[in-house]
């Protein structure tokens, strides 16, 4: 699902251990003309972020291998510039609070409104320093 022609700065990353959800979000982003790279396993994404620049990542919270919040905590050390959008299957206020405290740009409870979600993703992409610099 990666787009070879685009630079890393234009590619949105997505981590969700639910394959079906992962695919559907990838398609949604693609349908809006966004480039997306999906990861089924958090650890694969962690490996990817060490070698690539990631402007925006969309993280699911409840994953068996590693929670999205835990992943965010590691990411903030590995790639502090990456903007994080959280999507979750459970409306858990505690989790939301934790996420916001750690500087996520958006928090969505599944299922979410497609326009709001896409606007948030585009917004996150636009404010990324790499993209700001490119402009």
């Amino acid at each position: 699902m990666t787009s070879g022609e685009k630079s890393d700065a234009e590619i949105v990353c997505l981590v969700d251990d639910d394959l079906s959800v992962l695919k559907s979000i990838q398609r949604l982003l693609a349908s809006d003309g966004l480039s997306v790279r999906g990861f089924n396993k958090p650890k694969e994404f962690l490996a990817h972020v060490q070698t690539h620049s990631v402007p925006v990542v969309i993280l699911d919270i409840w994953m068996e291998e590693m929670s999205g919040l835990e992943l965010q905590a590691q990411l903030s050390r590995l790639s502090p510039g990456t903007r994080v959008i959280i999507i979750t299957g459970c409306d858990d206020p505690a989790a939301k609070l934790t996420a916001l405290q750690h500087g996520v740009v958006a928090f969505f409870t599944k299922p979410f409104d497609d326009d709001q979600f896409l606007t948030a993703v585009r917004g996150a992409l636009a404010i990324h320093p790499m993209n700001e610099r490119a402009r």
């Binding site: 639910d18 079906s20 398609r27 949604l28 809006d32 409840w62 299957g89 459970c90 858990d92 497609d114």
Partner: protein
């Protein structure tokens, strides 16, 4: 006049008479007929004939002959006519000494031929045995004429002349006519004699017979009233109108007080022309103040023309028969009292009064032998003074204890003719004197088994022993008393037994019953009657009892009874009773057959327990359990919020995103058909996935409508359950490790319920490990086969552990270590496991945390189980 002259003169006369004129003949006939008719008997009539014939004809001698008793010879009769010549008497003497056989001599000849015979000269006749005497007195001519009655010669008359003479037909005819007249008269006379003799016989019969005979004419005037009738009705025939007969003669209906209706009296009816058969009339008058019973038959009397002329009744005194009849009736009445369970004292009193009524001056008493066999108790003595009764009550029996005490002691009849002298009465003499008792005969009353039950005594105020009639009464009295006392004792025993059992049954809240199949009766304790809804007085039988059974189960209960009676001897049934007004009870009835020594079925005894309350409680409990179980599952759902939301949101999110993506691709018009195809397929798959999640939740949350068991592999159920709670496990930052035995035998169980068990255990474990740091939040679920006989599941956590003193306490109601817990979960878990025939227990693991393990029985490896 010289002898010759006389003869000559007579000869002239003779000549005259020998040829009498017709008128003379007629006059002779008339004279003779009149005189004969007036004669009182045959001899005087013959006397008239002999005399008149001789006088008119001048024949010198006339004699009569009659057949002897047996009709073999003719004897010379006592009457004769002699003309007065002395010589003739010699012939008479010769005749009197003669007896002629038929055909012998003149009389025999006439007798045999039945017609007159004429002999010109008897001295020349070869068949005249009296020739010698006749020659001596000079008799020559003779004529013999038969006197016939019908065809029978009743006499022969003969006349003699002292000269020879030829047959004079006319004379013979005259005499024959006279004889014929005589025969007729005699015949009539004989008939009258006969009649009067019959009358005499009748009279003598009537006057000596025991039955009363009364004859009355059409007007009701008595024609005959024999002596028995006078005795029976107190007086003889009176000139009383028939309407007054009942009053006059004291005639009553069988109630002894209502005067017999006049128009229904037997004599009145027979005068009316009716035949009267066996009408009983009670008669009482001053000569018979006690009254007597008569049985009367009556017949109408009719003249030769068939016209009604009166009536006759024959009355028989049936007082004795009636008395016996009444006696028998009264006996049966006493027996009926026994049958109707009248009190013993009532029965015995009636019996004593009955016996006393059979003879004048007789007093009787019945004493009972105490159960100790040593003392007597008062039974019945309605006509003995109270002082006597009191003195005897409680007295000991023995060899010298009055008539009764001795009779019971010796087991045989004791006759004391005089209590004043008999040594047996030494102790009671004074008492007897006060009471005016002089003789006392006592007979022991024996049970059918020969046990002495009491005694029956007869008392007299005069010194004497019993008469045969009194012995007969005694025999009857002891027999009946024996039945009464024996029965009463048997009932007492039965009542005592029933009372004892009843008491036990009552206190145990049981219905106790006995069914007597032979008599088609039944007994039931008061509690039983209350359970079955029977009035306390209602006589019961098996059909009535079975009639209370619910119609759906009645046939089965009847069959169980029949089976018990016929073969197995035991009865057991759980069924419903339908009481009046439609109330229903659940009962359990158990019974057993009792037999006599010959193996005959005597009774079926049993108990019935009312288990309605228990049933109700069971039902209530089941409902409660179901409610709780349901509540538990709903509560579990609440605890599994994360998992539920997550499980549902995942597919829904995917669907929504796919749909949005498709819409956008379409708007942009650059959609790849292959991509669209995949997208739509994924949407279908995700909606199915969402549907399954919902189904799973519904199955858990639904009330237990379908609790059908099916074959389960517990490993699969565990995996499914873990999937259900996976989000919560993640949310709680815990780890569940499974260690499955792949050789686990299958079990038969309700899937939802087993899932409920696992959910409870897992959620509890998740709660228990929350206190630990996330890295140590471990739960291990393992399975293993217990020798293939059962499948065991262990859920082990590394949490805080169970109460140290009693880990099993966690299964109790409302026990909870959790702040929010209801304390019901594990109770429900245990109930589910036990319902499935399994067992669950809990313990603290050696190092840390708790370990719950349950096992369920493995399905036996038969094909049926496999197929299921």
């Amino acid at each position: 006049m010289s002898e010759r002259d006389k003869i000559d003169k007579k000869s002239d006369e003779r000549q005259e008479i020998a040829d009498p004129s017709r008128e003379e003949q007629l006059s002779l006939l008339q004279t003779i007929t009149m005189e004969v008719a007036a004669a009182s008997d045959l001899w005087s009539a013959l006397d008239v004939v002999l005399r008149r014939v001789c006088e008119k004809t001048g024949w010198v001698l006339g004699q009569a002959w009659m057949p002897n008793q047996d009709g073999t010879v003719l004897d010379c009769g006592p009457v004769c006519f002699c003309s007065g010549e002395d010589g003739l008497t010699k012939f008479r003497v010769a005749s009197e000494g003669s007896h002629f056989r038929p055909g012998v001599g003149l009389p025999g000849r006439v007798w045999q031929l039945k017609r007159s015979a004429w002999i010109e000269d008897v001295t020349q006749d070869p068949n005249f045995p009296r020739t010698k005497a006749a020659t001596k007195v000079g008799l020559k001519a003779a004529v013999g004429i038969p006197i016939l009655s019908g065809d029978e010669v009743i006499a022969v008359i003969e006349f003699f002349l002292q000269e020879s003479r030829a047959t004079n037909e006319r004379l013979v005819k005259v005499i024959a006519a006279v004889a014929a007249q005589l025969g007729l008269v005699m015949e009539r006379k004989r008939a009258v004699e006969e009649l009067s003799r019959t009358n005499e016989i009748l009279q003598s019969i009537l006057s000596s017979m025991g039955d009363a005979v009364i004859v009355a004419d059409k007007q009701g005037n008595f024609l005959l009233f024999n002596p028995a009738a006078e005795r029976m009705f107190g007086k003889g025939a009176t000139q009383t109108a028939s309407s007054e007969w009942s009053h006059q003669y004291g005639l009553y209906l069988s109630d002894k007080v209502t005067p017999f209706p006049a128009d229904q009296l037997p004599l009145t009816r027979s005068i009316r022309g009716e035949e009267v058969n066996n009408v009983e009339v009670f008669v009482r008058h001053d000569k018979a103040p006690q009254g007597l019973w008569t049985r009367i038959n009556g017949r109408p009397l009719r003249g030769p023309d068939g016209e009604l002329s009166g009536g006759v009744i024959v009355c028989r005194d049936i007082t004795e028969i009636k008395k016996e009849e009444f006696f028998l009736f009264d006996q049966s009445r006493v027996l009926e009292m026994i049958g109707a369970n009248a009190s013993l004292s009532e029965v015995l009193t009636s019996l004593v009064l009955l016996m006393e009524g059979q003879a004048d001056g007789l007093r009787c008493s019945i004493l009972l032998l105490n159960r100790d066999g040593k003392h007597v108790r008062h039974g019945a003595a309605p006509n003995l003074p109270e002082a006597y009764v009191k003195a005897v009550d409680g007295a000991p029996i023995g060899p010298r204890n009055g008539s009764c005490g001795t009779a019971m002691y010796l087991r045989k009849q004791v006759v004391v003719k005089d209590v004043m002298t008999d040594p047996l009465w030494a102790d009671y003499r004074k008492l007897a004197e006060i009471c005016g008792l002089r003789a006392c005969w006592s007979t022991p009353i024996l049970s059918p088994h020969g046990d002495v039950l009491g005694s029956f005594a007869m008392y007299r105020e005069e010194t004497r022993g019993p008469q045969p009639e009194e012995l007969r009464l005694t025999q009857i009295a002891t027999h009946i008393a024996g039945i009464a006392i024996d029965r009463q004792r048997a009932q007492e025993t039965l009542r005592e037994r029933e009372a004892r059992i009843s008491l036990a049954a009552e206190s145990a809240d049981l219905a106790f019953w006995v069914i007597y199949p032979e008599q088609n009766t039944a007994w039931m304790s008061d509690k039983g009657r209350a359970i079955y809804g029977f009035d306390s007085q209602l006589p019961l039988n098996r059909d009535l009892i079975c009639g209370r059974v619910h119609p759906d189960e009645r046939a089965a209960v009847h069959a169980a009874f029949d089976r018990a009676c016929a073969s197995i001897g035991l009865f057991e049934s759980e069924h419903r009773l339908v009481l009046p007004y439609g109330r229903t009870r659940w009962v359990i009835a158990r019974g057993r057959c009792l037999h006599d020594e010959h193996g005959n079925l005597l009774e079926l005894i049993g108990v019935t327990i009312d288990v309605s309350a228990q049933k109700q409680a069971d039902l209530q409990l089941q409902i409660q359990r179901e409610e709780m179980s349901h509540f538990n599952r709903v509560a579990l759902m609440g605890e599994m919020t994360a998992s539920v939301a997550h499980e549902l949101n995942q597919p829904l999110t995917a669907i929504a995103n796919n749909a949005s993506a498709a819409r956008r691709f379409l708007q942009r018009g650059n959609i790849d058909p292959v991509l669209l195809q995949q997208l739509l397929q994924d949407m279908v798959a995700d909606s199915q996935r969402a549907g399954e999640v919902i189904r799973g939740i519904r199955a858990l949350v639904q009330k237990d409508k379908n609790v059908a068991r099916s074959m389960l592999n517990l490993n699969t159920v565990i995996a499914d359950t873990l999937r259900l709670v996976s989000s919560d496990i993640v949310l709680r930052e815990s780890v569940v490790i499974t260690e499955m035995d792949h050789g686990l035998p299958q079990v038969e169980a309700v899937p939802v319920q087993i899932q409920q068990v696992l959910l409870n255990l897992i959620m509890n474990a998740l709660d228990a490990v929350q206190a630990c740091p996330p890295a140590k939040r471990r739960i291990i679920i393992s399975t293993r086969s217990l020798n293939g006989a059962s499948a065991e599941v262990t859920v082990r956590d590394f949490g805080t552990g169970l109460p140290k003193d009693r880990p099993d306490k966690v299964f109790d109601h409302f026990f909870s270590t959790k702040q929010t817990g209801m304390g019901m979960g594990l109770t429900i878990v245990r109930s589910i496991i036990e319902t499935h025939g399994g067992k669950i227990s809990a313990e603290n693991a050696p190092d840390r945390g708790a370990r719950f393990f349950f096992h369920l029985p493995a399905v036996r490896g038969d094909s049926k189980s496999q197929a299921a």
